[in-house]
Amino acid sequence: MINLNCRLTPRSDNITASVIDGEAIIVNLSTGVYYSMAETGGEVWSMIEEGRSLREMVEGLVAKYDASPEQAAQDLDRLAGELVKEEIVTVSKASGGEPAPQVPAPGVRSPYVPPVLNVYRDMGDLLALDPPMPGLRDIPWQDAGEEKS
């Protein structure tokens, strides 16, 4: 069961991932499914890679965005469930006994958009579509020296 004392660990045996311009791109190597998480999602993924506990992630989001600890915790719980289901992360116990997240002083935080895991299940199908033929080397009129540019 996932709770705030848990830590999510990327399944490096099963995925490859990178955060590019703040957006996380994740590929499940066994299924070929692509995922992306932008903005808060990208930040959450960075925190996962840093080994932060869910509690620390809630604190991180609440410090930066206009979200309540309850909302952030609820969103992270949902996202963690999706990441586990997609075999992107495993869940383990973080060192426990940490205090509950505190609400920071308002006024300095950005608008909050809940992190979303975008799923692209058809990348394998799209990549498998027949490419056009032929390749450059096979075009007979190229060999015939016809002007092509």
């Binding site: 490859t16 991932a17 990178s18 590019i20 311009d21 957006e23 791109i25 590929v27 190597l29 070929g32 692509y34 992306s36 932008a38 903005e39 808060t40 999602g41 950005s110 958009v113 979303v116 975008n118 799923v119 692209y120 299940r121 058809d122 990348m123 199908d125 799209l126 990549l127 579509l129 027949d130 490419p131 056009p132 033929m133 032929p134 390749g135 450059l136 080397r137 096979d138 075009i139 007979p140 009129w141 190229q142 092509k148 540019s149």
Partner: protein
């Protein structure tokens, strides 16, 4: 108008879609529009930045990055794409079908938001759940979706019913070749199949039908123009059916030589078993006044008017194909009438000028009505 013309494959690739895309891009440029072509290298050694026929071509290692799951290449492609979008500042993005690289378009859209037209001209992968797919998301995010036949339009609307009020058909169009049609040869009839030699095209059905036809017309020949993975199998099939010496495998024929090849044919055969989006080969045959025997799949029956410009038959049935071919070979005047009607139909409905103008009108309308793309990702703060 500045157009980002996105095609997974572009020159020097010469499939039907690639050739048509090139013609459209060139015509747009000649009309005074600025174009930047975004495409991939495919499996060829080609420069990242290139120019052809006055078009600027920007190649990205999309396919290598996505297929090999090379996120380093992905990051590099994305960075270059952002630079291109910011420098070129397109008014509109014309995306050909839904390539895997569409993912990068949507992920970089906030760097220069512009309405996206998605032009579907090949069957989309079968999928019953569009919610978590790039295809579904792309269709829903597009400002407009065109399909090159009613059959394709039905497919895309089935995948994304919410696009019904922003989708339409733009039939393919080709310029009429300069070469005039010649009369159909009946003394030694020639049946022509053209296209990628893959199972989907049903050339095996053509060979089976041809074996039957040849018993009635011993001087008939079957010509298969094209190449692909199914060729060896087809050669073997022809040998097993005792017609190998009467079947010519030409390999790839360059697009500009197709009209002359059509002129040597008595009729064109398109026994496709997959959902042909349109069937450019049928149109090319009609332009040269050849009757067409085509299967009842996808958009083919919209191109070939059954009983008027050819005969539309059920797929996967060599006997019915043989009967249709025999009927035409036994009735030269009928075949000639259908050929002539095909040429008229090609000119009337499937000309290039109409194809070009429908696109240009749609572009202008989209710019006027500017509807921001609504891809299902959280919007960046810059939007």
């Amino acid at each position: 108008m500045r157009l980002l013309f996105w095609a997974e494959f572009f020159w020097p690739y010469i499939g039907g879609v690639e050739v048509l895309g090139m013609k459209l891009a060139r015509a747009l440029r000649e009309r005074g529009h600025e174009l930047a072509v975004v495409t991939s290298h495919g499996d060829l050694e080609l420069p990242d930045e290139d120019a052809h026929a006055g078009l600027r071509i920007h190649r990205f290692r999309f396919l290598e990055a996505l297929a090999a799951r090379r996120l380093d290449l992905y990051a590099e492609a994305r960075r270059r794409l952002v630079c291109l979008k910011q420098a070129f500042r397109p008014d509109l993005v014309h995306m050909n079908s839904v390539p895997p690289s569409a993912l990068l378009h949507w992920q970089t859209r906030s760097y220069h938001p512009a309405p996206t037209l998605v032009a579907v001209h090949s069957p989309l992968p079968d999928q019953n759940v569009a919610a978590e797919t790039l295809v579904g998301r792309t269709l829903r995010a597009a400002a407009w979706v065109t399909a090159n036949s009613r059959a394709m339009l039905e497919d895309v609307r089935r995948l994304a019913p919410e696009i019904s009020d922003r989708s339409s058909v733009i039939y393919n169009g080709l310029e009429m070749p300069e070469l005039a049609p010649e009369s159909l040869p009946f003394e030694a009839p020639m049946l022509l199949c053209a296209g990628r030699v893959v199972r989907d095209k049903g050339f095996d059905v053509a060979i089976s039908a041809f074996a039957t036809v040849r018993r009635r017309f011993p001087r008939a020949r079957l010509v298969i123009a094209g190449d692909g993975p199914a060729r060896a199998e087809l050669e073997q099939q022809a040998a097993e059916m005792g017609v190998r010496e009467a079947v010519d495998f030409l390999g790839w024929v360059p697009p500009e030589k197709i009209p002359a090849l059509m002129n040597s044919a008595t009729l064109a055969l398109m026994p496709s078993r997959w959902r042909e989006a349109f069937g450019l080969v049928a149109l090319q045959a009609m332009q040269m006044a050849r009757p067409v025997v085509a299967s009842d799949v996808g958009g083919l029956p919209e191109v070939v008017a059954h009983g008027e410009t050819g005969l539309v038959v059920p797929k996967e049935d060599p006997e019915v194909v043989a009967q249709a071919v025999t009927r035409l070979l036994e009735n030269p005047s009928l075949a000639q009438e259908m050929g002539a009607a095909g040429r008229r139909r090609a000119s009337l409905l499937f000309g290039f000028d109409r194809y070009f103008e429908e696109h240009e009108i749609l572009y202008r309308r989209l710019l006027k009505e500017t509807r921001h793309d609504q891809f299902e990702l959280p919007l960046d703060a810059t939007l």
